[in-house]
Symmetry: C2
Subunit: 239 residues, 2 copies
Amino acid sequence: MTTEQAFLQSYDASAFPVVLVTVDTVLFTFHDHQIKVLLVMRAAHPERGKLGLPGGFLDQNQDNSLQAAAVRSVKAKAGIEPPYLEQIETVGSQARDPRGWSVSVIYSALMPYETCCTHIETVEGAGWYSLKELENLDLAFDHRTAIHKAFSRYQQKALYSFVPAYALKPPFTITDVRKVHEALIGKTIQRKSFIRRVESSQVFIDTGDVRTERGRPACLYRPKQGLETYRFVRNIEMD
Amino acid sequence: MTTEQAFLQSYDASAFPVVLVTVDTVLFTFHDHQIKVLLVMRAAHPERGKLGLPGGFLDQNQDNSLQAAAVRSVKAKAGIEPPYLEQIETVGSQARDPRGWSVSVIYSALMPYETCCTHIETVEGAGWYSLKELENLDLAFDHRTAIHKAFSRYQQKALYSFVPAYALKPPFTITDVRKVHEALIGKTIQRKSFIRRVESSQVFIDTGDVRTERGRPACLYRPKQGLETYRFVRNIEMD
DNA sequence: CTAATAGTGTCTATTAGACATTATTGT
DNA sequence: ACAATAATGTCTAATAGACACTATTAG
């Protein structure tokens, strides 16, 4: 029987087999009527030259948390600072990385295209790809699976929340938000129904400004605090 | 420029700082009108003597996946084989374990009390604790947080699915299922409304048998394949 | 004016909640 | 008969979807 202190002094973590811990991030945006995902060209082995998610190894010296690691690696690989992150899932197996038993924590976020398109252009091989284009691409590791998992998470959220509005740069119109929802769930939504949801939710503030493109000017809104926790009392129906 | 093969041959994973990877499981059941969680007494340092979640280190020799590690460690620590598992979240930081940077993948499941109560009794210090009891207990690491996270996940699921039925041993009555939902969301649900949900969902099979306790006999049901993916068209309302 | 898009009015079908009523058992 | 619980009948309020209608801009 040893004390906890004695136990910890004699504890040698390096005696354990190494598990590689990586953090990968699926960043989505909405541009050109489509949901797009951010991919970067892998500069180093393994899977060098393939497109993959921005991410990398956990750095014990720099990262105080998994989320911090995700933010750091996205910034390093794509020059972007994600506005928020949510965890999607963690995958791990002997087989998924040739370097050994590997665990990858997948994060995801939606972000406005405008706030990042210029940064992206400065990073070699980084870019936004629509999910359609993505089908014909050979992605690194199991990143395609991760993307699909993250996408279906947001697809679900589009049915019961206004979280998809995070893909837009405020201020935006109700139609803008509706278009993002439509792109996610793959069907059109009645304008009137959508407006009713916006009004009863009270998670958007009418800025008082309008934006005119073609036709009648549209009211501009900003998201309120609490948008991410709001849930529709009745979901959008998916037949 | 090296080839991928040459890169992998010279790659030494053990040169990286070790990250401790553990898998912890939050098992819930329904007994005595309450939701209860399975805790085990920690036999080794650190946090020795405290109650905590069944779990343990990933074992690269035994575990082919994270979920396999969860199943194995629950079996080892509590003598129970969980019927299924779903991932709740992954936590990781420098601070949460005194042995070093540690990552813990949290799994959770609901299971029938009947199929496990006898096994539990044979394991020293393992037992089911109601969430009420749990408030006054000192739990290991950040396990209390993990339990609350898993609980609120199932609380949400109780509002939009029949997943809580997994806490019951088939065959069960509609009232049994309703009681589990009520325990999770903390309010009573109209019997008629609940029965309507059951009927329209078509995820339960009427066995034709009945069970009599006090009063009119109740029809017995079994879950169908697909119960876990079914979603209510309209959620149970939480005021 | 017309085309285009934003926003409203309003009808209808659906359905959750509420609660009364009937059904079936044990004592 | 009575208590207890299961199951059904039915009314009502809320609301999503549908779609017609009005409003406001550009050209």
